[in-house]
């Protein structure tokens, strides 16, 4: 079974009171009545409206900017340009953005140049047209491989090309020698857009030298840091209220338009609201990288993988700074004896690119899956069997550790100073602690009747006229949060009436964090779920957290919430033991809001938390009853060194070989995420991930203008999103059976592996239907083009 940490403590799932239950999310009633407030709904008294002037060029220096006519327009309160902006770089999480608020250089079509504040949006928009700008046009580059050449136009002051991020083990040459077959492929991936519903707005208000911001963000703490960096003001003078967002997928972390709002509000000394249009949301904030995967895999006749060798390029667009993507496929397929993965990040004069759901695993991951399938075809092995044979199992080494000086070096730093005593029950680092694709592949294959429906490689199970039907399986993995750039924390406070509140900086983009974190706290505290509330977005009260990215929330923030709850409970029980029970606090526990002896034989009465704290009130010289504030008191194991979550998706689809249209017929999403804290939330994450991945696989891609890099389909008419009728109504889910040794009550991360597994499942099913691999997006036209090339 399960490697357990004494500090976290194992609780038998059969005794869970609220963990594991599919309770409605805390904001369910607000959601169905339309009373949940999003950033676009927020109004602040006295606020004015801002609009951003956007670059008509892909790369240019502003040589002259005249705002006088705009400022003279009645209703305009002020204009900001790069001349108003501080000369400070700010960064958002994970190197997704680095730049100055405005610096007079534009690096992609639509980049921010200036902004106007006016009494109405219409006046602000009219004023934009009155700003006069002169440019020095700079040469631009859109192709990532062109941008890597030494003579390419340099977009960043640090240069276009980041140092390669390399993971390697064994010896690639040996891997080739040991192989009976070495296969290769090259895939160019289009850029996916988050296409978030809900748009976003930012409101900033200055009071003297302090600023308050309201906006949707998955990363409240990082956003506050960004403001601190961009404006050089102390963190204590910044308060961010991160609001729930619409479907974000990484779009709403911290964005430059938020910084511009702050700048504009400071200039005009009134609260400013900048509300983005849908086009701005899709074309000026962020997107998934354009990626190019070139890979080789070697395998023996018996299907053993001897080599995994991949070279992967990601374009960072204008302001991204990433040198890596989360490619946990390297771990999932790490049984390959020898491996080399290299990631190359490079800037281009396109919209800034960065992390979108399951970054790297959606793209590089599907290249790995295809090559693995090609090997399986070569040795005539069933793809489920091939995955069972070659994918990582608990206890095995995580190959990701072998990145030079990065992951392992940072982990060493992390471990430095944590006494051995506090580490002794940790999982073995750099090895997979629990979970894998094994259980879910077996269960999934059975539930899906894989054996009955899969007729062999490239063999559809049904041919009717031009329609071919076939099934496919795909797997995906991703991390459960990473500890770099700062650890996550949480605070739990118990109120004098026995209710409690959790404070943890996470995103609320529909992944149920406000509910599952409260479930963790309620389970640990022993307080009824209905009495546990949560604050997720206020940076004044929530301790620093990476936020909701890299599938961080359930595992790492959940761990912190549990640890904080333990600390709060300890403080509570110390008071109760001393004031009431005359016992050792360790003899007591809390159940359903009542404090009692753990030992069922002791006949002493149970006392409610409220009674304990209120009775104590007059004698409470230290004000302890009202200030029970728990926080983690022991170190969190470094999750990136042992925790992964896994998904295996089975799909049945039909291809019309005359029109190229794909129709999804059936879908089974399986997932290993340890304890499922809330099945109602989890099933949505799994199917939601499937739909996100399926969209990327079949329909979604940004189209860039060849001359200007302008995004031609930044709208929902031509950026195609799946509808209900495009996805099987009986999409089912199955959960794996594992209990994480570290995650709260055995729960692990969940949001991203399903997005990574979907595309490969569809790609393989299409291969089985028509006998060929088609690159994504597999639009009807791309299918027909591939079929014609073949004939």
């Amino acid at each position: 079974m399960k490697n357990l940490t004494l500090q976290t403590g194992y609780k038998d799932p059969s005794s869970f009171t609220i963990a594991g239950k599919g309770v409605p999310v805390k904001d369910a009633r607000e959601k169905v009545t339309g009373t949940l407030k999003f950033a676009v709904d927020v109004k602040v008294q006295g606020m004015v409206h801002g609009k951003i002037l956007r670059s008509p060029h892909a790369h240019a220096r502003i040589t002259h900017i005249n705002t006088s006519k705009a400022e003279a327009l009645p209703g305009v309160l002020g204009v900001v340009t790069h001349n108003d902006a501080p000369n400070l770089n700010w960064e958002n999480a994970w190197f997704n953005y680095r730049g100055k608020v405005l610096d007079g250089i534009v690096r992609f079509f639509g980049d921010d140049m200036a902004a106007v504040a006016a009494t109405s949006e219409e006046i602000a928009e009219t004023a934009l047209g009155l700003i006069e700008v002169e440019y020095e046009i700079l040469p631009s580059v859109f192709d990532p491989e062109e941008a890597m050449k030494p003579d390419a136009p340099q977009i960043r002051e640090e240069g276009n090309v980041r140092d390669p991020y390399i993971v390697e083990w064994g010896d690639v040459a040996k891997g080739e020698q040991e192989a009976d077959f070495v296969l290769n492929c090259e895939i160019k991936f289009a850029s996916q857009q988050m296409a978030p519903l809900g748009r976003n707005a930012c409101i900033a208000e200055w009071n003297d030298d302090r600023v308050t911001m309201w906006t949707a963000s998955q990363t409240p703490s990082e956003l506050r840091d960004g403001i601190h960096e961009a404006f050089g003001i102390p963190l204590s003078k910044i308060r961010v209220y991160a609001l729930p967002s619409g479907s974000s997928f990484g779009n709403w972390w911290s964005a430059n338009f938020m910084m511009i709002t702050v700048l504009l509000a400071k200039k005009v000394r009134k609260p400013v609201k900048i509300e983005l249009t849908n086009e701005e949301c899709m074309a000026t904030v962020k997107r998934r990288h354009l990626e190019i995967s070139r890979g080789r895999m070697g395998c023996k006749k018996d299907g053993t993988l001897t080599l995994a060798d991949f070279d992967h390029i990601i374009d960072n667009g204008g302001y991204g700074f990433k040198d890596d993507v989360g490619f946990f496929c390297v771990d999932n397929w790490g049984r390959a004896h020898h491996g080399h993965y290299a990631i190359h990040g490079v800037n281009t004069n396109l919209l800034t690119a960065g992390c979108m759901r399951a970054v790297g695993d959606v793209t590089l991951g599907s290249c790995v899956e295809r090559l693995a399938d090609m090997c399986a075809i070569q040795v005539n092995m069933d793809p489920v069997e091939f995955r069972l044979k070659n994918q990582i199992k608990p206890g095995e080494e995580l190959r990701m550790q072998h990145s030079r000086g990065y992951l392992k070096g940072s982990i060493d730093e992390y471990l430095d100073g944590i006494p051995e005593e506090q580490r002794k029950d940790w999982p073995k680092l750099f090895h997979l602690s629990s979970g894998s694709t094994e259980d879910i592949l077996i269960k999934g294959a059975q539930a899906f009747n894989w054996e009955g429906r899969w007729h062999g490689w490239g063999k559809p199970y049904s041919i009717e006229g031009p329609k071919r039907r076939a099934v496919g399986v795909g797997t995906g993995a991703h991390v459960c949060g990473v500890e770099f750039e700062g650890n996550v924390s949480a605070v739990v406070r118990i109120n004098p009436d026995g209710s409690a509140k959790v404070y943890c900086a996470v995103g609320r983009q529909g992944q149920g964090s406000e509910t599952t974190q409260a479930q963790v706290a309620a389970e640990e505290l022993g307080i009824p779920f209905d009495k546990v509330e949560i604050e997720t977005g206020d940076t004044d009260s929530c301790p620093w957290s990476h936020g909701s990215l890299a599938s961080n929330t359930m595992f790492r923030v959940g761990w912190a919430t549990q640890a904080a709850s333990k600390d709060a409970k300890r403080q509570l029980l110390e008071i109760a033991a001393r004031e009431f029970f005359g016992s050792d606090p360790g003899e007591l526990d809390v159940k359903d809001g009542m404090i009692l002896f753990k030992d069922n034989n002791k006949k002493d009465p149970q006392i409610s938390i409220e009674d304990v704290l209120n009775h104590f009130r007059s004698a409470d010289a230290l004000g302890q009853a009202s200030s029970i504030t728990g926080r983690p008191t022991y170190p969190m194991p470094p999750s990136s060194a042992f925790a992964r979550h896994f998904a295996a998706h089975f799909v049945d689809l039909e291809v019309d070989i005359e029109t190229g249209e794909i129709k999804l017929l059936d879908w089974l999403a399986t997932q290993d995420s340890g304890t499922i804290m809330n099945p109602q939330v989890m099933k949505n994450q799994m199917i939601g991930g499937a739909i996100c991945g399926a969209g990327f696989a079949i329909y979604e891609s940004l189209v860039f203008d060849e001359e200007t890099g302008r995004i031609k389909n930044a709208n929902l008419l031509d950026y195609k999103l799946l509808r209900a009728a495009d996805f099987p109504v009986n999409g089912e889910v199955i959960y794996g059976d594992s209990y994480d040794p570290v995650g709260p009550f055995g729960a692990r991360g969940a949001g991203e592996a399903p997005a990574a597994a979907a595309g490969p499942a569809i790609a393989q099913a299409v291969y089985n239907a028509i006998g060929m691999w088609v690159d994504m997006p597999m639009t009807p036209e791309n299918i027909i083009t591939a079929l014609h090339k073949d004939s």
Binding site: E30, G34, G246, A724, P728, V729
Partner: protein, 158 residues
Amino acid sequence: MTTLTVNGGVFEVEIKPHESLADVLRDQLDLYGVRVSCNEGECGSCTVIMDGKPVTACLVLGMQAEGKEVLTIEGLGTVDNLHPIQQAYIEEQGFQCAFCTPGFIMATKAFLDENPDPTEEEAAIGISGNICRCGAYPYIVKSVVSAAKKLREQKRAN
């Protein structure tokens, strides 16, 4: 000034000719449950019911609502008094971020008014005028079918 009938109430509002009904409802009547996302009639988040039929309010001129009865999510049910459709969505968890949810619920009402006993496939087609980017579709479909059952039972009871 123009008179609009919204959620059973009569309101005098100042409408600029180019203003959409969605903007009028949000900005002048504070009905921010009428959610605007794509603003091009694709996503359906702004769906309201006008004279019994579903419309994307972002495409309707505010002036074109004069003399008609407009129903928004706020008029359908409140946290103290949920409509059976809203109840069904909660039970089936037919949402994630829920920005699209009011639009889906209004589209559901209009759909069920015309199709009181749909199969899952029919329901999926019926509410395909709305987009859920989070990808809750199977659970939205279950919400629609469950809502249909609740409404049929409610009708029988009356």
